[in-house]
Each structure stands twice: as structure tokens, then as C-alpha cells.
């Protein structure tokens, strides 16, 4: 049996025997044709149905909407407190107005901050604790610059806590090696947008015109800055670019702390790999002086954990702290606060 398309295409093409170079050329032409036609269907589909993970990479053209406005230092800031509050209604409703005056602590940060806040609530009933304030509107999870913006927003809104704690974990630091602070932006609709490494030449031009090309690029590691490759473990090597981002963010946090006379403690947690496997503490050595220079109080939890005889009982299999770990963190943090002198 001969197939109809064999007759129509191939016979026309090769009724006369061709030399090798011509056959090769025809093959390459066919290859390009097959590629382009099939990819055109893909491009058509992607344009019709933009995958959600592509939308933050479209810059100002992103159709996403959100609650942000551009900020020169932190790249994003909150447009209004009302919109921010709407994301955590239960928490803010529970405490009523911000200017109520029991002893208040605010804990900002990732899931570790939530566990710490919950432990504080359980052990310090005389305190009002804002344990875990989420920003659900960003592209992906909350990041450190958002917590800084949150601290600034709450203080500007009149909240005068006794202290603000910002929890920082190594995984959070490593996210800035994949997406530098300057690559974060705000779309016309107020959503957070993300940048990517745009190569020069035809590939860069292709990314500008092809949504599917951009999708593939941003899903690959090629989107990351070149120094992301060098940073297998952020705890052992903090790139200068990341250090510079944190200097900037610590600076804003320190300035906010001084402006509103509210002390801020940076709670620096080691990751479980640092504790359970031989590792160095370059991250702590880099960030602690940086935060102190910005006027922040720093609590480095690593020495306390390392001093424990059985470290494994402090960690859950998913690398979060166990109840025992959280209890140790809180007791060490309180001891640190008792030792440290309040900032001027």
C-alpha cells in the first residue's frame, strides 16, 4: 500500500535521484517545516490560554492584577492597608484596631514564623501576637522584601508593637540567587511581576515574540542569573549580588525601625542540612554583620541548635521544627532578648 501523502509530497520531491547534499538540504528543510507547523499550533494554543506561570513574566503587559505599587528600594510596596488587611481578615479582626495597646509582638516570615508565633501565643498569654501574616497575592510565595514592606506598612498604619520579628531561613536567601530583587516589578494592574535572564541575539528576540518560547525559557533554569549556577548551597557561598540585595532590604528595615522607634529582631534560622550534616556557616557570617550594620537586632539560632546533644529530635522529616524545636527556639529567643539592650 502506498500512502497518499507519499505520492503527493515525496514523489514530487524525489522522482529524480538527488545527490547527497541535496537530500540533506531537503531533509533539513522538511525538519524546519515540521517544527514550525507543529510549534505554530502550540503558539496558537498558548496565546489563547496563557498558562498561569507565564503571566508574571510578561512584565507591564501582564494581565494579572494585584495590590502593589512600585517602590524604588523594595521594588514592590502595598498600595493600601485596606487591601492588605483584606487578605488576613480573621487575624486583623481578631485584634480590632491597630492602635490597641497591650504588649504586641509581630512575627513576619515563612512557615517557620507561623510555628514561632503559635509557640509565642501559647507561652505568653499577656502578649498580643500577630503570628503569621500572609500575602497571598504575590507571584508565588511571600518573599523577604514583602515582609519588610509589611513591617513598614503596619508601622505606618499606626501599629506600635513592642517588637517586630522577621524570620529568615537559608532557602529564602537562596531565592534571591534565582530571582534578584531588581527583577521584581509591578504590572499595570498592580500585580507582582518577575524578570528573567534575557539572552542577547536571536534567542532573546524569539522570547520577545513567542509566548511558548518564553514559557519554555522561564520554566527552565536558563531564566536564572548566571551566579545561580555557582550557588549549590547558599549556606556555603552567598554571591555578592545576593549580599547586595540583602544589604538594601536590611537597610530599609533598619530605617523603618528607627523612624518608628520599634525594635526589629532578625531571627536567622539555620537549615537542617547545616545542622545535621557537616557544613559551614558562610551565610550566617555574611548576613549577621550586614543586619547589625543596618541597626537590626539579630538572633542567630545556629549556635543554640549546634549545642544540643541530639539535634535530630528538633526536626520533622520535612525539615520544619518539631514542637521541641520550636520550644527551644522560643526559649533561646527570649533569653537573647533578655540579654540584648534595646536599640536607641
Amino acid at each position: 500500500m502506498r500512502l497518499p501523502c507519499v505520492r503527493s509530497l515525496a514523489d514530487m520531491n524525489e522522482s529524480v535521484p538527488q545527490p547527497a547534499w541535496q537530500r540533506c538540504g531537503t531533509f533539513v528543510f522538511g525538519l524546519a517545516l515540521g517544527l514550525v507547523v507543529t510549534l505554530a499550533f502550540g503558539e496558537f494554543f498558548v496565546r489563547l490560554r496563557m498558562p498561569e506561570d507565564l503571566l508574571p513574566y510578561l512584565g507591564a503587559a501582564s494581565p494579572l492584577t494585584g495590590i502593589y505599587k512600585p517602590d524604588p528600594a523594595l521594588r514592590t510596596d502595598y498600595r493600601s492597608f485596606a487591601e492588605f488587611r483584606a487578605m488576613n481578615p480573621e487575624l486583623f479582626d481578631q485584634f480590632g484596631s491597630l492602635d490597641a495597646t497591650p504588649r504586641t509582638w509581630v512575627v513576619l516570615g515563612p512557615s517557620f514564623a507561623r510555628a514561632l508565633g503559635v509557640a509565642m501565643q501559647a507561652q505568653m498569654p499577656d502578649h498580643r501576637i500577630y503570628p503569621y501574616i500572609r500575602d497571598m497575592s504575590g507571584a508565588g510565595k511571600d518573599r523577604f522584601h514583602q515582609w519588610v514592606a509589611q513591617a513598614r506598612l503596619l508601622l505606618a498604619q499606626g501599629l506600635r508593637p513592642e517588637r517586630i520579628f522577621v524570620v529568615l531561613i537559608p532557602q529564602e536567601v537562596s531565592r534571591y540567587s534565582e530571582l534578584p530583587l531588581d527583577w521584581v516589578g509591578v504590572s499595570a494592574g498592580g500585580a507582582m511581576t518577575l524578570g528573567y535572564r534575557r539572552p542577547a541575539g536571536p534567542i532573546g528576540a524569539l522570547l520577545d515574540v513567542s509566548r511558548m518560547g518564553l514559557l519554555a525559557w522561564t520554566r527552565s533554569t536558563l531564566r536564572k542569573p548566571p551566579y545561580a549556577k555557582r550557588t549549590k548551597y547558599i549556606t556555603e557561598n552567598v554571591p555578592d549580588e545576593v549580599t547586595s540585595d540583602f544589604r538594601r532590604m536590611f537597610g530599609v528595615l533598619g530605617e523603618t525601625s528607627r523612624q518608628y522607634r520599634v525594635p526589629v529582631t532578625l531571627v536567622l534560622l539555620p537549615d537542617h542540612r547545616q545542622i545535621l550534616h557537616p557544613s559551614n556557616f558562610a551565610l550566617q557570617r555574611t548576613l549577621v554583620p550586614l543586619a547589625q550594620a543596618a541597626g537590626l537586632d539579630v538572633f542567630d539560632f545556629a549556635p543554640s541548635v549546634l549545642a544540643q546533644p541530639d539535634k535530630s529530635v528538633l526536626y520533622q522529616p520535612d525539615s520544619h521544627y518539631t514542637e521541641q524545636g520550636d520550644a527551644l527556639l522560643l526559649s533561646e529567643l527570649r533569653a537573647h532578648l533578655a540579654r540584648s539592650t534595646p536599640p536607641p
Binding site: 500500500m1 507519499v6 509530497l9
Partner: protein
């Protein structure tokens, strides 16, 4: 490891390269495939290898013993019993204990919950159990010669492309090709192999996973107030497509990988949703399992040889066990029972005079009747899928109830009403129909052979394949890259 693991392409490329370098050296090639397969299987849990090797030792040893003993039946029974006992232990212990708890209150529900949480079934154990049983029975029947080399037999069982979810191969389809005179000398990176792999990944990562993202929330909350009044049928249609794309995608990849190493394996799917009856459906769906159930269960149970009632009984038993094979849930057994019942009804219907008259219809009435049969068969299959997808009986019945009772304003809502999803499926259907038209339904192997010498078309086909592979990755929905459904079985 799975085919969608990020390290899998590295393993495959390294293996192909080494295999290429080792051409001519039989034992090196065999060893390479074996080591790669062991690595693939033991990648997640090293102890799985011990389970699989245990099977290999017993099945291979049983084969040798069958050749030498006078008590062949007893030896076969011993070998098959071992396979089934170990399979049942892994698959059904939690189900058995939870059923005991429900019936007699022992052991405690807490114990059951803790056991179920930590219970890990060795991946693909059902598939290599069936291959082992098929081998032993074939040796017993004298259909296949005994394999004397243990490592060759181990490779037959453990070769990574088919290890986890089939196709369920017979010795004649694979084991015999591992002998020195048949083992391919070098990798055969044909367009057919590349296209099968690319199509398989596209089916799984784009079509099945996109459908899953759209319908999973509905099935997760089917008895919930959030889905009250929603018409369930579009969701069930989509699930039918999801499981087809998921499983046939896996089979495509497995067959493509097999072809890369020079092994041609049977097809597992042949347009199953175009079946005109349930009987026809089982000739087109998971064909290697249907074949196994027919040859190693239905026929030994008596098959058609003892009259229609005995045949119906054998059919019911076969399908009930086939259902239970899919998983440790009574709903799977029910799913098999429904298919068994439908097959019996189908068979009885086939004996009526009306069936004969309708089957003889030609022209437009014949085409309409065929269309009705396809639609009816598809919906009967969808009916049974409700028990397959939802492993809680109450949820299954709620889902079925929502086929009929739904709010007028919710007949087309949620993930199933996503127009672009239907557009994607439509584009795929059109592209497939165009390909079938252009090739007059020829098999891929024929298409490949006819285009081999025509550089323009060959180039276009390779271009299409490369683009399909690229799109499988680029268009897959992020966050919904679930494992292949049949990996659970």
C-alpha cells in the same frame, strides 16, 4: 524512577551511548540493560529490587523445575501461588485489615491508619507478577522453552520500559529476543521510536495532566456542597479521556523506548472509545491485560467450553478479579463486576434475533446504529469509571446521581466548562484525524518504512516529533505533574 523524572533522560542517554559502544559484546549489552533497569527500579526504594529479584529467582527456578519434574501441575501451582501470595500481601493487607476492623473491630482503626500511611507497594509489582505467571504457565503448556540463564530471565522481568506499567509481555514477545542471535546489535533511533516517545509524553504531560488539573477538584469534592447541582457527566467524559491519555501515553513511551533498543512490543490500545460494544472495548483497551485475563484466567476457568451459564460465571469471576487486581479497594472490584455484568449482557444480546437484524443494517441506518452503539458503549464504560475514579462507594453513587440530577444553571460549569481545554482536545483530535486520513490508518511501522527514503517527508516527521516533545514539556501544566495513574497498580 519514572519516565517524568528529571534524571531519566540522563540515564537513557548514557545507556544508549554505552549500548552503542558495546555493540558486538553480548554479555556487556545484556549487563548494561540489566544494571540500568535495576538502577531505574531501585532509584526510589532499594528494597523494591529485593522483591523483584525474589520474583525472578522463584519464577525462573519454577521454569527449570517444571522441565525436570513429573509433578508439573503441583510445581506450577506452587510457583503461581508464590506470585499471587506475595502480590496479595503487598496490595491487599491494608484493605484486609481495615475490612476486618469494620467487621469484627480488630485490629484498631488507629493501627490500620498507621499501617496504611506507611505502606508502600513496590511499583509495578502487579505487572511483573503477571509476566512471571504467564511465563510459568507457558512453560507448563510447552508454549515456550525454559530459559536457562537467570540474568536473561531477570532482564525479561525487569527491563525498565515495561517494568512499571506494562505492556504485559509474553516470553515469545521479549524473552526470546534477548538471546545472543536475536539481541539487537545497536540502538535503533528510528522516527517511529522517537514519535512514540514524543506522543506518549505529549499525551501524558499535556493532555492528561491538563484534564487532571481541570477535573480533580470536582472529584475531590463530589459529595461536597461546593459541587452541589453540578452536572457530573462532562467530568466523567473528561476522566475517561484522562485515563486513556495517561495510560496510552505511558504505553507509547514504553513501546518507543523498547524500539530504541530494537524490541518491538504489542500495542496496548486501539481506539478503545470507538468500540461498538463492551466486548469490543476489552479488545481495544489494555489489550495485553485483556489477553492475559483471557488466556490465563478465563480459559482455565472453562471459557466458552461448558455452555453459556458457565461462560457467564467464568466471565464474572475473571472481571471481578481483574478489577481487584487494579487496587486495594472494593470499588475496583465493583468496577470489574460492572464490566463483567456488561459483558454477560452483551453476550446475551448478541444471541438475540434483533441484534442480528440490526447488525445487518447497511447505509445510513447502519451508520446511525453503529454511532449509537459507540455512544452507548462509551457511556457504559463511563458509568464504570465512576467506581474506578472514586474509591469511596458513597462518592461513586453521588457522582452517578449527578449524571441525572443537576441544576439547570450548573449543567456546564467549573473545570469541565473550560473552553480552551476542549479546544486543546479538539486540536489534538483534528490532528489525529488528519494523520489517519493521510496515512489511511496505516500503522506507524508502515508509515515509517514508506517514508524512510524520502528526505523531505522524513525531515518533516522528525521536525514534528521534536516539536511534540518540546511542547510536551513547555505546555504541561505546572503543579499538576502527577505520576502515571497505572503506576499505582
Amino acid at each position: 524512577m519514572t519516565f517524568v523524572d528529571k534524571n531519566f533522560p540522563i540515564l537513557l542517554a548514557a545507556l544508549l551511548l554505552l549500548w552503542f559502544c558495546a555493540r558486538g559484546r553480548y554479555w556487556t549489552r545484556l549487563g548494561l540493560l540489566l544494571v540500568a533497569s535495576f538502577y531505574f527500579y531501585g532509584y526510589q526504594h532499594g528494597w523494591w529490587l529485593a522483591v523483584m529479584l525474589g520474583y525472578c529467582v522463584v519464577d525462573w527456578g519454577t521454569g527449570l523445575w517444571l522441565e525436570r519434574t513429573r509433578h508439573r501441575r503441583a510445581v506450577l501451582a506452587l510457583g503461581v501461588s508464590f506470585n499471587l501470595t506475595v502480590l496479595c500481601f503487598w496490595k491487599y493487607t491494608p484493605l484486609l485489615l481495615s475490612t476486618l476492623t469494620a467487621l469484627v473491630g480488630w485490629p484498631s482503626a488507629d493501627f490500620d491508619a498507621a499501617l496504611a500511611d506507611g505502606w508502600i507497594i513496590p511499583m509495578g509489582v502487579s505487572f511483573y507478577t503477571f509476566m512471571g505467571i504467564a511465563y510459568m504457565v507457558d512453560v507448563y503448556r510447552g508454549v515456550t522453552p525454559v530459559e536457562r540463564n537467570f540474568w536473561r530471565y531477570s532482564l525479561f522481568t525487569s527491563f525498565f520500559p515495561h517494568l512499571v506499567a506494562g505492556p504485559i509481555l509474553r516470553a515469545s514477545e521479549f524473552l526470546h529476543h534477548l538471546r545472543p542471535e536475536s539481541l539487537p546489535l545497536r540502538p535503533t533511533l528510528s522516527w517511529e521510536a522517537g514519535f512514540l516517545i514524543a506522543r506518549g509524553f505529549f499525551k501524558k504531560m499535556v493532555l492528561a495532566d491538563t484534564i487532571a488539573a481541570a477535573i480533580d477538584p470536582f472529584f475531590a469534592n463530589v459529595s461536597d456542597v461546593s459541587t452541589a447541582g453540578v452536572w457530573a457527566l462532562p467530568y466523567v467524559w473528561l476522566y475517561a479521556l484522562q485515563i486513556y491519555f495517561d495510560f496510552s501515553g505511558y504505553t507509547d513511551i514504553a513501546r518507543g523506548l523498547g524500539l530504541c533498543f530494537g524490541f518491538r512490543w504489542p500495542e496496548n490500545f486501539n481506539w478503545p472509545y470507538l468500540a461498538t460494544s463492551i466486548q469490543d472495548f476489552w479488545r481495544r483497551w489494555h489489550m495485553t491485560l485483556s489477553r492475559f485475563l483471557r488466556d490465563y484466567l478465563y480459559i482455565p476457568l472453562g471459557g466458552n467450553r461448558h455452555g453459556p451459564w458457565r461462560a457467564a460465571l467464568a466471565l464474572m469471576v475473571t472481571m471481578l478479579l481483574g478489577g481487584l487486581w487494579h487496587g486495594a479497594s472494593w470499588t475496583f472490584m465493583l468496577w470489574g463486576g460492572i464490566h463483567g455484568l456488561l459483558l454477560v449482557v452483551n453476550r446475551l444480546w448478541g444471541m438475540t434475533a434483533l441484534h442480528a437484524r440490526l447488525a445487518a443494517l447497511g447505509g445510513a441506518p447502519g451508520a446511525i446504529w453503529t454511532g449509537m452503539r459507540i455512544a452507548l458503549s462509551f457511556h457504559a464504560v463511563c458509568f464504570a469509571w465512576c467506581f474506578f475514579r472514586l474509591t469511596n462507594l458513597k462518592d461513586s453513587f453521588t457522582c452517578l446521581e449527578k449524571w441525572i440530577y443537576f441544576d439547570a444553571d450548573k449543567w456546564w460549569v467549573g473545570g469541565a466548562a473550560d473552553g480552551t481545554l476542549w479546544l486543546l482536545l479538539g486540536i489534538y483530535a483534528l490532528a489525529t484525524a488528519a494523520a489517519v486520513y493521510l496515512t489511511r490508518g496505516a500503522r506507524l511501522a508502515e508509515v515509517s518504512a514508506q517514508f524512510a527514503a524520502r528526505s523531505l517527508v522524513r525531515g518533516a516527521l522528525w521536525g514534528n516529533t521534536a516539536a511534540l516533545l518540546f511542547m510536551a514539556w513547555a505546555l504541561s501544566p505546572v503543579g499538576h505533574n502527577s505520576p502515571f495513574i497505572y503506576f499505582a497498580f
